[in-house]
């Protein structure tokens, strides 16, 4: 027995271990970090960080698309709990400073609207989507130190066409169109206070790995910077029998070296991130830096240190040459850290812009503070292919959109018939105006979408402190599927991480473009001393109106003194029993103006009596003349 004791104990321990091992194995997760650096022809340098966490959550356990996230390892717990609480199936949040310039830079890896943009699909089982949505926005607001809590029903919409789920949306994950919520805050300023909580979600934080490059002072001294969190369910493997939860954290910046460096495009990690890489994140499966050296053939630059690998990709005749630094195989022990350094021999020679095949330009039309218009120019520069697109416009309630003024035509004046128009009218202080149009852009054309709006008067408490700054209208969104991959910095791909897009070919490239945000001025009262004076003056005029009206409409006529006296009595009586009493015919004769007497008349009872008593004297000269004539 003494021998069997430890055996039993061991077997129990073994069983326990097995169980633990099972649980751990069933929630397998992996993390990868990538950085893509592209020097643009226009002189700017684009760096895009992508951190992907894939977690094989057992979705079936919760039933339906539901999941219950427990036992966090690489997946950030703070975010996971929020997602579980509000039953979010898919969530995309971007916080952006600056605008992506499509005509100069092509298409970004992930397009983002200036300011904050959030859209989420909720699980099918969620009953009260709005409640879940406001819970989510408030939770995220706290999590990312952003003003997402200002998202309310006036800025939330449910587009039906533009924002389809990006991850799995079938079987367990099928959901209803009504379970989508979309909102933007175009005025949101993004800075370090958003970056700090964002980078805390990373497994290695900023201690090591690519995230070590995040120096807030440098990241926000750029032309454009955008950070995003994207959560979606994806296929676990090719058979797609199981699903995983994917969390993408992306950060993009565009630096402009020629502005500061005598016209040269020289770029290095030390200069633009103020440090170099010391090694990969130990948690990361892949940790790579890609540098696009395709342009090296035309404008030669030297790249230091030597990349660990050179890769060539070819899409539809469009070649791309990538220098790859694999941080796991990079000899950090020999080099003094990895400092990717590009040096050009010549200054940047600026050429005419070479805009992409499809791009948008949007602006406000008209002037004045009553009406206005918005016009979008959609350029399809493809020489022979038509392009079907979805255009979405979300207007706040105070720009009351007139749908009848919606006009879609090419610049040559040919009408373009929209294939589908979905319009949700807004309601004052409740809903925004949402317009979605599906249309086909003719090849090699510019299509104008224009409509007018009316600027609403706000209540005086609804104006922000800087009322005269103006009000922002969020970007319009253009969604489409392109057939060609040129113009993409990274061709989009269903797989996870940058490498799937960079190295696997595809035939369809979904594209989403955000247009400019617009600044419009509403009729704004002058919130100052003259404003008060105007209010006061108006009040005084309103009070004085009665007397003035009385004065200008009353007519004096001759009246007999005796009758007038008796009338005085009657008038006095009438006064006693209320003014509303109808005057008798005699009264009318006596003073026809009496009926139209203004209720605003301030005369007191005594005055009224005096007034009637003095009728003889009241007779105007004109009347006197008549009486004279009679006498004669």
């Amino acid at each position: 027995m003494a021998e069997r004791g430890p055996t039993l104990l061991f077997s129990v321990f073994f069983c326990l271990l097995c169980y633990v091992f099972h649980t751990v194995a069933s929630t397998k997760d992996e993390y990868s970090e990538e950085l893509l650096i592209i020097p643009f022809r226009s002189g700017q340098v684009y760096s895009h960080f992508e951190f992907t966490t894939l977690w094989d959550v057992d979705f079936a356990q919760g039933g339906g698309g539901r999941y219950k996230l427990q036992h966090f390892r690489l997946f950030p717990r703070a975010l996971g709990q929020v997602m579980t609480e509000y039953r979010v199936q898919e969530m995309h949040l971007t916080l952006t400073q600056g605008m992506w310039q499509q005509d100069k830079w092509g298409y970004p890896v992930t397009s983002a609207a200036p300011g904050a943009e959030l859209w989420a699909w909720f699980q099918q089982e969620v009953d009260d989507v709005d409640q879940a949505w406001f819970g989510l926005t408030n939770a995220l607001s706290g999590l990312f130190c952003a003003s997402l809590n200002f998202i309310d029903s006036t800025s939330t919409a449910t587009p039906h066409l533009s924002f389809r789920p990006q991850g799995l949306a079938e079987g367990l994950f099928s959901t209803k169109p009504s379970h989508l919520r979309y909102a933007t805050l175009p005025r949101e300023n993004v800075c370090t206070e958003n970056l700090t909580p964002w980078k805390k979600l990373l497994p290695c934080s900023t201690r090591t790995g690519l995230a070590a490059l995040f120096h807030a002072g440098q990241l926000y001294n750029t032309q454009y910077s955008s950070l995003g969190v994207h959560l979606r369910p994806v296929c676990r493997n090719d058979s797609c029998r199981d699903a995983s939860l994917e969390l993408r954290q992306v950060l993009s910046t565009v630096a402009d070296p020629p502005a500061t460096l005598n016209g040269k495009q020289d770029w290095s990690m030390k200069r633009y991130f103020s440090r170099s890489l010391s090694g990969p994140c130990p948690m990361a499966v892949t940790s790579r830096v890609y540098v696009d050296v395709t342009t090296n053939q035309t404008s030669s630059f030297t790249l230091k240190p030597e990349p660990t690998e050179l890769k060539l990709t070819n899409y539809q005749g469009y070649n791309r040459k990538l220098a790859v630094y694999d941080l796991w195989s990079f000899p950090f022990h020999k080099e003094h850290g990895l400092n990717v350094d590009m040096k050009w021999k010549k200054e940047v020679s600026y050429k005419e812009l070479f805009p992409p095949r499809l791009y948008v330009h949007r602006f406000v039309t008209g002037y004045g503070q009553e009406h206005g218009g918005i016009m979008s120019l959609l350029y399809n520069r493809h020489p022979y292919l038509e392009q079907q697109i979805i255009y979405m416009e979300l207007l706040p309630w105070f720009t009351r959109m007139y749908l009848h003024t919606l006009k879609v035509e090419t610049t040559e004046g040919n009408l373009v018939q929209p294939l589908l128009t979905r319009y949700t009218p807004g309601r004052d202080r409740q809903n925004p105006y949402l317009l979605e149009i599906v249309l086909t852009l003719p090849p090699d054309s510019t299509t104008r979408i224009s409509f007018s709006f009316e600027r609403a008067f706000l209540k005086w408490t609804e104006y922000p402190p800087d009322a005269n700054h103006g009000f922002y209208i969020s970007s319009a969104v253009l969604t489409t599927i392109l057939r060609q991959a040129d113009n993409f910095t990274v061709p989009p791909h269903m797989g996870s991480g940058l490498q799937s897009g960079l190295f696997h070919s595809s035939t369809e490239f979904p594209l989403r473009l955000h247009t400019e945000t617009l600044l419009i001025s509403l009729p704004t009262p002058d919130f100052s001393m003259p404003y008060n004076v105007i209010c006061l003056t108006c009040t005084v005029i309103a009070i004085a109106f009665g007397s003035l009206h009385n004065l200008t409409t009353r007519r004096f006529q001759y009246t007999d003194l005796k009758k007038a006296n008796s009338g005085g009595m009657r008038a006095w009586l009438a006064q006693l029993f209320g003014r509303g009493k109808q005057a008798t015919s005699e009264d009318k004769l006596r003073e026809p103006g009496k009926e139209s007497e203004d209720p605003g008349e301030e005369s007191e009872t005594s005055e009224e009596n005096d007034y009637i008593g003095e009728q003889r004297e009241l007779v105007t000269p004109r009347v006197r003349a008549e009486s004279d004539k009679k006498d004669r």
Binding site: T260, Y472, T517
Partner: protein, 674 residues
């Protein structure tokens, strides 16, 4: 209100208004004019101040050091101009200059049709009836980092096509120098648009219309492929040489719009900081700022500003921005020989300071004043100060109208006393002269008057005369275009036809009283009183409305028209009245004020005849540009004069020549019977 609603005191009031009418009118007018002129005197106006705190002018150190770029570029542009003398703007070269700095550079082509038949082409072929002007604007946008291109500031300069004169190459040089300097900084919060405009106003109008997509039928232009956000402010630059002795700041915009005083103030302050003299209308601020000479100088500056503003024509490209609620001024760099001058370095620093201040703006310009007059660059008269004297002047019209209205239906104190005898004589003479038919007529008139005399004037008699005047005004407003069309048929020179159209109707309608007197409109004293009362009320409304939109125009009209129009009466001293009325007619006023302007600006006097000739030429061009600008830029000065002021004046003109018929006779008869 007791005064008005209590009939007793109302009567008293009306009695006073009637009895002391003339002295009151004279008093109001004299006090109004003196008060207004006194506003130019230093103790009566205020020192300018910054209302918008966000501007923070001059807080940062200027770092502009690229003045040699300015010199190089302006020289290069001059060389190009020297080679192709009369050629178009060197668009490709300009585009390269901007693009070389890494700015988003775009061009815009436009064709402006000026609705004036071109003399040359119509003679040749008769095909192209209208003058067409085509040009190409070049603009470059410096995108501010980390912003979504929601706001922008504009630095513009016109490319002038004058043959022998300078074509603003220095301004372009400075613009490029500033662009290259601005490009290096990352503190911009607003995009900066550098705009080089082909053909002054028309090019600017084309660009602004296309930027805001407000199309006019006469202007066709290629779409802009790049834009920034809403434009917050604009500075327009004109430099006559690379060395300037002072900046002439131009403010007056389209239809008398003025930029926000804060912007003007900003420019003036920063020029002062760099020790560049600022002048308004080429007038220096008086040095001992008090005393009689200083007052004269201030008054001169203020009058020049008013005369400019009253024309409603922009005196620089900035004027066109104002319509779009974009605050803008023009800085005109002038080299005055014999004065100390400064080069590109200081000018660049001034502009850098201005742009950095504008960059600080959080809100649109909304503080400070939009309605003001400047007697000196650092003194202002606000709307609250200049409106009361104007109100006093208008009070003359109102008082007169009230007195007349009260007098309607009264035989006693006739505001037109003394005229009766004349009229009686006149009627009698007419009776004897004309014969019998008239006799019966006048008898009928007498019987009619018996019922009408003390009643109200005949209100319906207003309808034909007012409508006639309005029709005349309407014809005057459209006649320039009609006449150019007709002139084209008869082979007249287009400009002459235009002038004929503009003034022809005026001269034609001088004969209108003749036509009106002929017909059998009832014309008692009361009717005439009613007529004049209506005319005065109409005048008060027109002047007040004009002053609200363009104060200077309203004021200049009021100062001259009000006393004359208040004085005119039918009958007596008809010739003198006619002369006075002609002087205050729209054409007369134009001549008077053009003369005043020349008197204030021209330094040399060449003798009576040459001066008169000069005056006539200027008036001729003023009418011409008034009409043409109305079509091309949308100024409403000519339309206002033709549709409102001229009919009103014509109304008075008819009253002067209206014959007063029978009422006095009736009066006498009554007296006899009683």
């Amino acid at each position: 209100m007791g005064l008005l609603s209590d009939p007793k005191s109302r009567e008293r009031f009306s009695r006073i208004a009637a009895k002391y009418n003339s002295p009151l009118c004279v008093l109001a007018y004299v006090v109004g004019v003196v008060w207004f002129l006194a506003l130019a005197y230093k103790p009566f106006n205020h020192r300018t101040y910054f209302s918008e705190n966000a501007l923070l002018p001059g807080l940062v150190e200027g770092k502009f050091r690229t003045e040699n770029v300015a010199t190089r570029i302006s020289q290069a542009m001059k060389d190009i101009k020297d080679v192709n003398k009369d050629g178009p703007m060197p668009v490709a070269w300009i585009v390269n200059q901007f693009r070389g700095l890494g700015l988003d550079t775009y061009t815009q082509e436009y064709i402006q049709t000026i609705p004036v038949p071109s003399a040359r082409q119509s003679e040749e072929q008769g095909k192209e009836m209208f003058v067409q002007l085509n040009g190409t604007n070049v603009y470059a946008i410096l995108r501010a980092p980390r912003t979504a291109s929601t706001e922008a500031i504009v630095l513009s300069a016109p490319y002038k096509h004058y043959l022998n004169m300078d074509h603003n190459n220095h301004a372009f040089g400075l613009m490029i120098a500033l662009a290259s300097h601005f490009r290096k900084s990352s503190y911009w919060s607003k995009d900066i648009i550098f705009l080089l405009v082909d053909y002054d106003e028309i090019g600017m109008e084309a660009w602004l219309q296309e930027y805001h997509y407000t199309k006019s039928p006469l202007l066709k232009s290629s779409p802009l492929h790049g834009r920034s956000g809403s434009i917050q402010a604009a500075i327009n630059l004109e430099l006559h040489s690379d060395q300037v002795s002072h900046f002439n700041v131009k403010l007056e915009g389209l239809n008398g719009l003025l930029p926000n005083l804060d912007l003007v103030n900003l420019v003036v302050q920063l020029c002062g900081r760099e020790r560049i003299t600022v002048k308004l209308h080429q007038q220096r601020d008086p040095f001992p700022s008090e005393g009689w000479p200083a007052f004269q100088q201030n008054l001169k500056t203020m009058s020049l500003m008013m005369l400019h503003q009253a024309t409603g024509m922009p005196n620089g490209l900035h004027g066109l921005f104002l319509r779009y609620h974009i605050e803008a001024v023009t800085l005109e760099g002038v080299l005055e020989p014999g004065r100390s001058s400064t080069g590109f370095y200081r000018m660049g620093r001034v502009l850098e300071g201005v742009f950095r201040s504008l960059n600080n703006l959080l809100e649109r310009f909304h503080q400070s004043f939009f309605f003001y007059l400047l007697p000196a660059s650092d003194r202002y008269v606000s709307i609250g100060m200049y409106m009361p004297p104007f109100g006093l002047i208008l009070l003359v019209t109102a008082l007169k109208a009230i007195a007349l209205y009260i007098s309607i239906g009264t035989p006693d104190p006739d505001p037109w006393d003394g005229a009766e005898n004349v009229v009686i004589e006149h009627i009698q003479s007419r009776k004897t002269g004309d014969g019998q038919g008239d006799n019966t007529d006048s008898k009928r008139g007498v019987t009619k008057i018996r019922t009408q005399n003390y009643s109200d004037g005949d209100v319906w008699s207003l309808v034909p005369v007012v409508s006639c005047c309005q029709v005349a005004g309407f014809i005057a407003s459209i006649s320039p275009m009609v006449m150019t069309g007709l002139g084209h048929l008869f082979g007249t020179r287009p400009y002459q036809a235009l002038i004929t159209g503009a003034t022809g109707m005026f001269f034609a309608s001088l004969f209108m009283p003749k036509c009106i007197t002929r017909n059998r409109l009832a014309c008692t004293v009361n009717t005439l009183r009613l007529w004049k009362c209506a005319a005065l009320v109409l005048q008060a409304i027109i002047l007040a409305a004009t002053a609200a939109a363009n104060f200077s125009l309203g004021m200049l009209l009021a100062v001259t028209m009000v006393p004359v129009c208040a004085m005119v009466r039918p009958g007596k001293l008809r010739f003198l009245q006619a002369v006075l009325m002609l002087l205050v007619s729209p054409l007369g006023l134009l001549i008077i004020y053009t003369g005043l302007y020349l008197l204030l600006t021209e330094t040399e006097y060449h003798g009576v005849v040459p001066s008169a000739m000069h005056l006539c030429t200027i008036v001729y061009y003023n009418i011409l540009s008034g009409v043409i600008h109305g079509y091309v830029l949308g100024t409403w000065q000519y339309t206002l004069l033709a549709l409102a002021v001229f009919p009103n004046w014509l109304f008075f003109w008819c009253i002067v020549f209206k014959k007063r018929d029978v009422p006095v006779v009736e009066n006498k008869e009554e007296k006899k019977t009683s």
